[in-house]
């Protein structure tokens, strides 16, 4: 479904990603883990088109993404739930979700998806008329995920949904992501620093360090790897 090959990105001479290849098959749950500054967010931004690659190729469902604008990519069914949530603070919760449904497919399925979003996150129905900027961090993350779901995506990209949230809230968020994957059949690409929880949910994982993919494989392989056990899971 998503094929990233030999992707390189530089910010003003500074290499953020070098030769990164990654593939996500339809229906898969793929996780990218790695320390701060490894290039995980850059990878997502490049897939979404707000950062231009210096080399390599990104193909989504047969379309070379270099040929279409950033705004067009959402219309193909790529939903990006960005790092730090980035909800529209001055819009109501309801309006945030409506903006998620901006692409044609989202509008066509709106009555169905809004019900689904409210089932997953009942608090969003309660807070519908409240400005998103007045919500707590956890609630804003729910808005961000709901907004991503509203376009009825084929691929849902989540950038550190646990960032800055209380552990109990994080558990809920992970549970919902797993539900979205299993029950709605949405393909998931997740970036996380909470490695243990993230890998547990996923079919395949990539370890990104200083812009390079240093390791990839199914959940079991990663879990058996000494480096992963030591650096990310704190096991010996």
């Amino acid at each position: 479904m998503l094929e990233v090959s030999n992707l390189s990105v530089s910010y003003g001479g500074l290499r953020a990603l070098t030769d990164v290849s990654l593939s996500v098959a339809e229906g898969q749950f793929v996780t990218v883990v790695g320390p701060n500054g490894a290039g995980k967010t850059t990878l997502f931004k490049t897939i979404s088109g707000v950062v231009k690659p210096t080399g390599g190729k990104i193909v989504f469902m047969g379309t070379d993404l270099a040929t279409i604008s950033a705004a067009q990519r959402a219309h193909l069914g790529i939903a990006h739930v960005p790092e730090g949530r980035q909800v529209f603070k001055t819009l109501t919760v309801r309006e945030n979700l409506e903006m998620g449904a901006y692409p044609e497919t989202g509008r066509a399925k709106w009555t169905h998806t809004i019900d689904r979003i409210h089932t997953l996150f009942p608090i969003l129905a309660e807070r519908a008329q409240q400005l998103a900027g007045t919500l707590s961090g956890g609630e804003q993350q729910m808005v961000a995920i709901g907004r991503g779901l509203a376009c009825a995506p084929r691929l849902l990209m989540l950038d550190e949904p646990s960032m800055g949230l209380a552990p109990a809230v994080t558990d809920t968020i992970f549970e919902r992501i797993s539900q979205i994957h299993k029950e709605d059949g949405v393909t998931i690409l997740l970036v996380e620093q909470r490695v243990a929880e993230a890998l547990e949910l996923s079919d395949h994982g990539y370890v990104l360090e200083t812009g390079h993919v240093v390791l990839d494989g199914p959940y079991e392989t990663l879990l058996a790897d000494d480096r992963v056990r030591k650096s990310y899971l704190g096991l010996t």
Partner: protein
């Protein structure tokens, strides 16, 4: 001054303040829309007001295509149609000039493109002023309507005190309010309005939603220019104007937008209304040359007491 004429003067200042204030309000909305959505500092806004006046003039007078509507209706229809004409001018200005110094292109740069915008819009302003001088000449124009010299007289019921409601200003005020309400409804309830607000709130996230931010910014710039132009067309019915008229009003527009709270589009309307009010009331006490000075005294007072503007939010939760 005896009580009767005092009452008469105050009531007349009040009604003039409301009517002129509403037109100022509409004019300010245009600038407020551009700044609120695109964060672009537009110094050429006064010249777009001027273009609105001339667009209306050429539509209505002489062999203008609206001449058949007659001098009572024509000027107001002309003012409204000046909107779409100047919208196109604004959208083209954005496409070829403003977009190069604003939007996603300059987001995150040291000054967010403000220095570039300042120079580009000042340049546009100068070109339009002097270009207007070449094309239109320097004799003052007006869009003639007999309504501007006729008034509805309302007896107050206290002696002979009477309130005079200038018909042209009254209709202009009604049109201004109608356009402001139409814009409010568009921004609040339509898909385009919500997408404009989303693009203003967080352009990067809006791009993730599939919103073509550059296209919406172009629309916002065109709308902002068109709305100020409508206000210009309305003012042209009671005011004589020339190519340099914009300079006086760009100051009023900025005061209105800052008073209303920077970034609040409808706040700009109330800001403009406040300015109109202060201007008309100061006429009771001060010579006309000092009316604009009074605006700035009130402006400074409000900025001192309520720095976020009358309708701006002081802070947002992160």
């Amino acid at each position: 001054m005896d009580t009767e004429s005092l009452i008469e003067n105050v009531l007349n200042a009040l009604t003039a303040g409301v009517t002129i204030g509403c037109i100022y309000g509409l004019m300010c909305i245009g600038l407020g829309l551009i700044f609120g959505i695109m964060k672009v500092v537009n110094f050429a806004q006064g010249e777009l007001l001027m273009l609105g006046m001339f667009a209306s003039l050429y539509l209505v007078t002489g062999g203008g295509i609206l001449a058949f509507l007659g001098p009572n209706i024509g000027p107001f229809v002309g003012a409204i149609l000046a909107g779409p004409i100047v919208f196109v001018v604004g959208a083209l200005l954005h496409k070829f000039l403003i977009s190069r110094v604003s939007g996603l292109k300059t987001a995150g740069s040291i000054d967010d493109g403000h220095f570039g915008q300042l120079i580009v819009t000042l340049g546009i302003s100068l070109i339009l002023q002097n270009g207007g001088m070449i094309v239109f000449g320097s004799t003052p124009f007006t869009v003639q309507t007999p309504l501007s010299s006729s008034a509805i007289e309302v007896a107050v019921g206290y002696g002979d005190a009477t309130v005079f409601l200038n018909k042209a200003k009254l209709i202009a005020c009604a049109v201004a309010i109608a356009v402001a309400i139409a814009l409010y409804l568009t921004m609040e309830f339509t898909r385009i309005g919500k997408a404009l607000r989303a693009a203003a709130d967080n352009p990067t996230a809006a791009t993730y939603m599939g919103i073509d931010v550059d296209k919406y910014y172009r629309m916002a710039f065109g709308m902002g220019c068109g709305i100020t132009a409508i206000a210009g067309g309305l003012m042209a019915t009671y005011l004589s104007f020339g190519p340099f008229v914009g300079f006086d009003y760009v100051i009023i527009m900025y005061s209105g937008v800052v008073l209303g709270g920077i970034g609040s589009i409808m706040g700009a309307f109330w800001g403009g209304l406040t300015v109109g009010f202060v201007q008309q009331f100061s006429a009771l006490l001060l010579p006309p040359q000092l009316q604009n000075a009074m605006i700035f005294i009130v402006f400074l007072l409000i900025v001192l007491l309520r720095p976020q503007g009358l309708f701006g939010r002081s802070a947002e939760r992160a």
